[in-house]
Symmetry: C2
Subunit: 103 residues, 2 copies
């Protein structure tokens, strides 16, 4: 099971639109067969800073996400709203282990 | 609903012990009434770097975590295994919203 922390920095005027577009992406992403989490959160000390916490059962499932229509729409829609490129950090899940706790 | 990303940097010789102690903390933390997530992951490019992704229904619930016996045991046990102090980043959850998706 793998995790990606996607760090995003959004221009102040585009914050509301970014949240809306990312929630739309969230709703479709959590229906992907290999998706475990797709949580969006906003930094308390910087309303322009977001983290998307993505968990997938495998590298293949995470790669498949990037081939979906909803991912591509999100990527192309939000690109110009960021004031610097987003950054993904790759992690491996150690707990919880076992699918039951994810369902 | 709130999130804390806890960043931890562990001395190489203490990595296995840290994982064990944190999984023990995870098992008890997820039973706290206000806890939504307590996920432990390890960076793919640095086996000394961990993130604990903690989600709670409220600030009060997150504060209550720090009063538990399992938190205090974890904090005191792992302190000397870190090569620099851990760092917590506070976020607010935007998605998913609604308790059902967390259960």
């Amino acid at each position: 099971m793998i995790v990606t922390f996607v760090h995003v920095w959004v221009k102040p005027k585009n914050i509301d639109s970014f949240i809306q577009a990312t929630i739309a992406n969230h709703k479709k992403s959590i229906k992907e067969p290999g998706n475990l989490r797709f949580d969006l959160s906003q930094a308390d000390d910087n309303s322009s800073k977001f983290v998307i916490y993505e968990a997938y059962i495998s590298e293949d499932a995470a790669a498949a996400h990037k081939e979906t229509e909803h991912y591509k729409i999100w990527r192309d829609t939000v690109a110009e709203w960021m004031y610097k490129p987003r950054m993904g950090e790759k992690y491996t899940l150690l707990a919880p282990i076992g699918m039951a706790v994810w369902e």
